[in-house]
Each structure stands twice: as structure tokens, then as C-alpha cells.
């Protein structure tokens, strides 16, 4: 008996993440990879997409250290005296994605370098509000 394929949407994306897997999609027609779980290829409009497991390796392409924080992160203790880092990660397979950047000193942004190697970091995943996160490789 084969497992019913999961629907291509954010619910499945975050369910996979909670299982420790970073799953995006690949277009069977043109091969385009997307780090987001899209039901249709935005490049060729094919609906023939399949799940693709990203290795979780990547590089930091841009980042910011946020001191005025949204309510969801204020609840976790972040704020003016405890900023957090978010960034744009270029994945080893090519696509980019937004993610939390953990294991860096967000209070000293000059110690964080774009280009640094990153790896998926799901140890602190919030069960209710799961978020993609990376840390220094």
C-alpha cells in the first residue's frame, strides 16, 4: 500500500518541517525547484509538480537583526534588548527562501557574515508556529 501523496500547500510544508524534513517542490515539466510548496509551477504553469527534499545546506545571502519585533516573537522574549536574526538563504540546490537565522549573535550584526555556510536547524521548532530556521554549518 502506497502512502497518499500530500497536497502541495503550506500545511503540508510545515507538517513535513515538524517531521524534520525541508520539502519543496520540483516541476516535472521544466525542472524548476521551489522552496515553497506550490501546486503549480510559476515558470511553465505545469501542474505536474512533485515533492522535492532539500538537503538543508545553504548560504546566507542577506540578513537583518530585528529589535522592534512582531507579537509572536515578543512572546518568546525577543525585543529591543534581545534582537533576533532573519535572512534570505540561498539553498545548495539553487532557490532562495526566507528563514530565521539561529546560533548567531543578533546583538552584534557585524559578527554575522553574508556568504556564511548554513544548515537546517529545527531543534527549537515551535509546534504551534513552526518556522524554517538555519544555523551556522
Amino acid at each position: 500500500m502506497t502512502e497518499e501523496p500530500r497536497e502541495f500547500n503550506a500545511a503540508s510544508f510545515y507538517a513535513y518541517l515538524k517531521e524534520g524534513q525541508f520539502m519543496g517542490v520540483r516541476c516535472r515539466s521544466c525542472g524548476k525547484l521551489s522552496a515553497e510548496a506550490r501546486p503549480m509551477c510559476p515558470a511553465c504553469h505545469s501542474r505536474e509538480v512533485e515533492w522535492f527534499r532539500f538537503s538543508g545546506q545553504g548560504q546566507l545571502s542577506a540578513f537583518t537583526c530585528i529589535s522592534v519585533v512582531p507579537a509572536a516573537l515578543a512572546e518568546k522574549g525577543y525585543g529591543r534588548n534581545n534582537p533576533y536574526c532573519s535572512g534570505i538563504v540561498t539553498l545548495a540546490e539553487g532557490p532562495r527562501i526566507s528563514a530565521r537565522i539561529l546560533g548567531v549573535d543578533a546583538a552584534s550584526p557585524q559578527t554575522i557574515a553574508t556568504g556564511m555556510n548554513l544548515a537546517l536547524a529545527l531543534e527549537d521548532l515551535d509546534e504551534d508556529k513552526p518556522a524554517l530556521a538555519f544555523g551556522p554549518a
Binding site: A10, F13, A35, E36, S61, A62, F63, T64, C65, I66, S67, V68, V69, P70, A71, L73, A74, R80, P83, Y84, S86, G87, I88, V89, P95, R96, I97, S98, A99, R100, P109, T114, K129, P130, A131, L132
Partner: protein, 428 residues
Amino acid sequence: MATSLTSAKRRQLGRPVSIVGAGMSRFGAFRDKTSRDLFVEAFQDLLEHLDQGIDVADIECGYIGNYSADLFEGQGHTAPILADWLGMTPTPVTRIENACASSGSALREGVMAIASGMYDVVLVGGVEKMTNLPTEGVTDVLASAADGLYEVPAGLTFPGIYGALAKAHMDRYETNLSHLLKVGIKNHNNGALNPKAQFNASLRDMLERRKARAEQQGGPVPDWRDEMDFLNDARANPWIAWPLRLYDCAPITDGASCVLLVAAEIAANFTDKPVHIAGTGQASGRPLHDAEELTSLSAAREAAAQAYAMAGVAPQDIQVAEVHDCFTIAEIIATEDLGFFEPGAGPRAVDEGRTALHGDRPINTSGGLKAKGHPVGASGVAQVIETFHQLRGEAGPRQVPNPNLELGLTHNVGGTGGTCVVNILRRG
């Protein structure tokens, strides 16, 4: 590959459209005013300043930009309420939502409604009442203009995404923190000349006032020597989303704006000094992580290419411009995306004073979103209003010193580049 500014298909309006009047509320924080009060104030300003007046019953249609009265005020379906309070019922009025480009898009809808031949006289405008919520609440509402599934969970706020853009620009070009601060100083200098601006004061005035207040209260008086000194003081100018600080961000603002659009053939019934829509463009863009480049907004380049093609002009023909400086880095990137300066040359242009009121390429003479204020749904039309006044030679102390002023441009961005509207205006 970034969009070429000369590659867009040349589209034309079905018939020419003119702006014949403009009205703006005061921009600022007004505790007891709601959206409808602000919009009525802007509309009254329009009626008072319309050269040859109008019977409100002659307005055939309206488009009002508003980002989120729902979340800011708990009020949805705002357009008919505004129509009622303007005494315009049963005229059809539609709310347009494209985040901070809401009224830029509303203006385009009005232009197309007239160009189609269906209407001759259309009111377009925008309004936002933001200051009911604390800063944290506003941060959450503005973040909802980003991708709620893949950007917001990553902790990215609205300043956060522009912070990442700023960092990418700094990595790629010679851009530094001082360039950002200089944009703010320039825009506050212009805002000091704009009586409707939220910050109707230069940063020099603001720091001197703070020193005077400290002295009056007998507290320690800060020893800021100049604006840069003030802006580099972490207590006066704290980090919001590194590398952006408080004074790199447009403020939280209440305000409204509106203009009257008419078919060009009847513009003379309203004024001897109409301003024509020479070109208009609008484009959509993807979240920053899916963008072609991390140092440019593709929607801005595409919208600009469309507007230049329709107007039949090039970037170097534009004599004055209002660009979407929701953050200081956004103004620098805008001047590059619009083709005023080469990619990466924006910071040097700021250093050389080229974008100042008396420079060769005046940008944000109104004070920009930074000093004039940024009631998000009202900003796109407020940019058009400043350009309208500049082209008519009625911008008072902030009038650009160019006796042959003919072409102005507005650049209005929604969210972090999901929407961009560019308009080119020509003096009639």
C-alpha cells in the same frame, strides 16, 4: 536579468486624462480623528483650491486607496462610508487595496475609467488612520502585507525585509550607514518647508529642540554637534531592523489625500493650469527571497518601463520626482530602479547633493514619506499632489528652482515590492 527600462510594450490611454485639483489633510498623529474625518478634510481642501470650483454632484465615480482600516480601526467597507460623508451618495465609489501602493493603484483605476470613455470626472484618493494601535500592533498590521506563509513565519517584519535589502546593497556596492542617514537629513530639510508634513522640521531643528527641552527640565543635555552626531547616538536613534534605525523609517501617520481627474478635453472648465497624465505603469513582484536580485525591486523597474514607454520619455528627462522612501534605503534603490542613476550609484548621488532641493535631480521635495509622513493608503496620491504643485509652480518655499519644469514622476511601492505604480506627469 533585470527588466530593461526601454523594453516595455507601448500602451496608450484611450483618451488623455488631466489632474485639475488636489487636496490633502494635515499629516500627523490625530488621536480623535477617524478615516472619514481625515478624508473629509482632504476633500474640503480640494474643493477650496479647485480654481473654478465644482458641483460635487458632477463627480461621477470614485476610487479610494486604503490598506487596512479593518485592522487599524475595525472598519471594513470604507468606500461607501466615505462617499456618504463627502455627500456623494449614490455615486459609485470603490476601495482599492494594494498595501502602501493602494492610492497609486486607485489613481490608475480613475485614469483608466476616464480613458475608457465611461466617465469624465472622477475623484481618486487614499486614506489611512494608523495611530490607534501601539507600534507593535502597527508592526504586525504592516507585516501582513508580506507573505504570511513564507516570510512572516521567518520573523521578517516590514522594516526587516528592507533591512535585508539594505544589507545586500551594502555588500554589493559602496553603500554605508551614512548614506542612509543623509537621505533622512535631506528629506527632513524638505519637510521643514512643507506645512502639511508630520515632521515640519529639519533634524537640526529637532535635535536643538530636544537639547532645549533637556536643559529646561534640568536633565543631562546631550552634546550632539550636528545631525550626524544625533543620528549616530543609539539612545536618540535606536536600531529597528539592523542596518536600519528609527530615523531610517517613515513614521506611523494619519492622513488623507485626493485629486480630481477629468477628461483632458474638459480640463479648462476647472482650471487654466491642468497637469496631464503623460504615462502610467504598474507591475507585480515576488517576495524578496524569490526576487531576481536582492538590491532592486523588479516591479519598480517594470512599472517605470511602462510609464516611460507611454510618455515617450527617458529617465534623464524627468525633472522632479517623489519616490517611495518608506525606508531611507528604499529611496536609494528607487533612484536606481527608475534609471536616474546606475545601479550602485544612488549612494554617491546622495553624497553629492544631487537629490537635494537645489540638486540637479530633486527627489522628495515634499519631505517624502520620511518627513511628510506615511499614512500608507494615502501616500501614492500624496506624491502625485506634490508633483502637481511643483509642475504648477505653486510649491512655495520648496519649489524646485527650475523655470522650465515640465515633467515629474511618482514612484509608489506596495509592501516590499509586491506592487509598484509609476506615474509621469506633464505640465499642461
